[in-house]
């Protein structure tokens, strides 16, 4: 897996501005990956399981290589979605990185208990966010070895 491979980054965040800022920060970090956005926990699960609007014939939902997850979201929040992903045999290999404004220790502990791969607190400044995104990409796409995408559902759409 190298930088050139089209790894899809799936970003789950209910806040439109945060999605925008994250996208810009990733661009600022010169990441050229395929970015996909979902707006809440339910949307995330639908995307991953190709259900709802992502069902066959609907919107494309390429299987993500990594998920950036906000914790506080409507409908199904990040904690619940995380629990579902990490107990689903077909999804639990996908690394999940929590990116949230919450500094509460309970959230950190709970997330790792549920099987999160990293927990990042959103920086207050944009420069900080860019810095975090740079570190994120360097770690996950250059240092870490990721599992090969599971063939099947993800490729069916391509």
């Amino acid at each position: 897996v190298s930088k050139g491979d089209p790894i899809t980054i799936l970003i789950a965040d209910d806040d439109e501005e945060d999605r925008l800022l994250t996208e810009e920060a990733l661009a600022g970090a010169r990441l050229a990956n395929d970015l996909r956005f979902v707006v809440d926990g339910q949307d995330l699960i639908d995307y991953l399981r190709h259900e709802g609007k992502y069902a066959a014939g609907g919107e494309a939902a390429p299987r993500p290589g990594i998920i950036l997850l906000d914790l506080n979201m409507p409908k199904l929040d990040g904690r619940e979605a995380l629990g579902m992903i990490k107990t689903d045999p077909s999804l639990k290999q996908i690394p999940v990185v929590v990116l949230t404004t919450s500094k509460a220790e309970a959230d950190v502990v709970r997330s790792y208990e549920l099987g999160v791969n990293s927990f990042i607190v959103k920086p207050v400044t944009f420069a900080g966010l860019v810095e975090v995104m740079r570190g994120f990409s360097s770690y996950w796409f250059e240092i870490v070895e990721l599992p090969a995408p599971v063939r099947g559902q993800g490729d069916a759409h391509s």
Partner: protein, 575 residues
């Protein structure tokens, strides 16, 4: 429940004992009255015997055959001479003697008889009639007033069976005659000291008496006796006198014996009468005292159990209230954390997008626009600080940690080392002396030291390197900690205001801050059950004095079993 039972038992015991006492009283009274009755009977037997003897004496004069023969010889003839009657009357000192025939008609009368005798006998008096008809063997009468101006006379009627039918011999006795004769026997009748005996006729006139003060033929003069014996056969009369009377058969007379009551009933009177009662009374008093004592004990037990109940009730109320507070604290905490997240989110955006504008459009912005943009970013930053501080403030009570014994000096040194950057930047010196130990919520005390030291450095005098001195000592139950500086100080009248939330003495331009720092200190100290105060000389420095209890008298927080788990929630150290 227990209380009711003990009262019931007490009541039953009281009733039983009262019944026993009542029984004792009855038994005692009964035995005493039995004793008295025995004595009464024994006393009244004396006049009974005397009356019987007296009656027999008179009957014997005419009922024996010997007597009848003798009387018949003298008065049984066809004619009876007045002389014989006169002679007989004189011979036995009679007032008169008269003989009546079987029709009650006067046959003869002794010479010198009082003038009223003839009339009296011709009126067929009842005593003559009853002997004539055989109703009585003989008859004795009350004193008859037969001699106006003279002495009284008693009449004695006795039958004589003759060939001409039953004749009646009536003898009149002068008062002295029988009095002397009967008086001798009477004086033997009453052996009791002070006792007397009388023979009285139905009108209460003395026939005979052992009492020399009583004159035969005169009404009895003993106070109260005449009235008493007219209505009763025995009883008390006068002052401390007792009498018993017994009628003498065939007469209108009665034998009356009197004696001082105290002598008659000596064995059931005075000490002999009262001693058992006194013992009983003493016993009853002792019992009453015992019951009073028992009652007090019971009542005290009641009060104690009442107090217990009240204590239980208020404990329960407190626990309920504690649970309520616990819940509302948890809700408040939850609200605070949600509010902090949701309130900070927009601020973060304002700052980030402002920065984006700076970065992307810096060239196109005028100086003025840049200034405005900078100001709005700063304002957003201040707002964020404010929210964070408020959050800290609200969490002092809701997110406290367990109290542990801590070396305050060590805590102060650690805080000073955490603040090294700020201390160096301000060219400040922090001196820490000996501080006592205390049982505290350590992270909060850390926060307290941090706020006080930061405060001291922040309000430094321009051009003078700040010196912060922390020392303390044990003062009774308290650990006293003083944080003094050489800063700008404040007017003494603000000494209490500075601990209020949002209270500021200086413009934000001069000294930054949210106005929560010292309020937070006060809240932390108060949660520990301590006090914080400040004094200052403006322009010379301030001293903040904190008094912390050295040990927990009671847990200041409401610790409820199965309390909200939020209490274990940890706040990152060093906030």
């Amino acid at each position: 429940m227990q209380r009711r039972q003990s009262k019931l038992v007490f009541g039953i015991a009281c009733t039983v004992v009262l019944a026993m006492l009542g029984g004792l009283v009855l038994v005692l009274a009964h035995s005493q009255s039995n004793d008295r009755r025995d004595l009464e009977e024994r006393f009244s037997r004396r006049p009974q015997v005397s009356a019987a003897l007296t009656s027999a004496l008179f009957s014997a004069t005419s009922t024996t055959p010997e007597q009848q023969k003798q009387l018949n010889r003298r008065y049984g003839g066809k004619t009876v001479s007045t002389d014989a009657l006169t002679q007989d009357a004189r011979q036995n000192n009679s007032v008169f003697k008269a003989l009546l025939d079987d029709q009650g008609q006067l046959i003869a009368i002794s010479a010198g008889a009082p003038p009223g005798v003839r009339e009296e006998l011709q009126s067929a008096p009842s005593y003559v009639q009853s002997v004539l008809t055989g109703q009585q063997p003989v008859a004795l009468t009350d004193f008859l007033d037969l001699d106006p101006g003279g002495a009284q006379t008693q009449a004695f009627a006795q039958p004589i069976e003759t060939d001409f039918g039953r004749r009646i011999l009536v003898t009149g006795f002068p008062p002295e005659l029988l009095a002397a004769f009967l008086g001798q026997t009477l004086s033997k009748l009453v052996e009791i000291t002070g006792g007397q005996a009388y023979i009285l006729d139905s009108a209460g006139v003395v026939v005979a008496s052992s009492n020399p003060e009583s004159v035969p033929g005169e009404p009895v003069t003993i106070p109260g006796l005449a009235q008493a014996f007219a209505s009763r056969d025995a009883g008390s009369f006068g002052s401390d006198q007792y009498f018993a009377a017994s009628a003498i058969d065939n007469s209108t007379w009665r034998v009356v014996a009197t004696a001082p009551e105290s002598d008659v009933f000596a064995s059931v009177r005075g000490w002999d009468e009262w001693t058992p009662w006194l013992i009983l009374a003493a016993f009853a008093l002792a019992l009453a005292a015992a019951f009073a004592l028992l009652w007090r004990v019971l009542r005290n037990a009641d009060e104690l159990s009442d107090a217990h109940e009240q204590l239980d009730a208020s404990n329960r109320a407190l626990q309920l209230r504690a649970r309520d507070l616990e819940r509302s604290n948890a809700e408040l905490d939850q609200f605070a954390s949600i509010a902090s997240h949701d309130l900070q989110e927009p601020l973060r955006k304002v700052q980030m997008f402002s920065q984006r504008v700076f970065e992307l459009e810096s060239d196109q912005l005028s100086d003025k626009a840049r200034d405005y943009l900078q100001r709005s970013t700063d304002a957003a930053g201040r707002m964020q600080l404010l929210i964070e501080d408020l959050l800290k403030f609200s969490r002092v009570a809701t997110q406290g940690r367990p109290f542990v014994s801590a070396d305050l000096e060590e805590v102060a040194r650690e805080v000073a080392s955490d603040l090294e950057g700020a201390i160096e930047a301000a060219d400040a010196t922090v001196e820490i002396g000996e501080l006592p130990r205390a049982v505290v919520d350590e992270p909060q005390i850390r926060q307290l030291f941090q706020n006080l030291i930061s405060n001291a450095i922040k309000f430094r005098r321009e051009g003078i390197p700040p010196v912060v001195r922390i020392d303390g000592e044990v003062r009774g139950r308290y650990a006293e900690i003083r944080v003094s500086d050489n800063g700008i100080g404040f007017e003494p009248r603000y000494a209490s205001r500075i601990f209020r939330v949002f209270e500021r003495l200086h413009g934000r331009g001069e000294y930054p801050g949210t106005g929560i720092g010292l309020a937070l200190c006060r809240k932390i100290v108060e949660r520990h059950g301590g006090t914080i105060s400040a004094e200052s000389t403006p322009g010379a420095g301030s001293t903040f004095t904190v008094m912390l209890p050295r040990s927990r008298v009671r847990e200041p927080q409401f610790v409820v079993p199965n309390g909200h788990p939020d209490h274990q929630k940890a706040e990152p150290a060093g906030v």
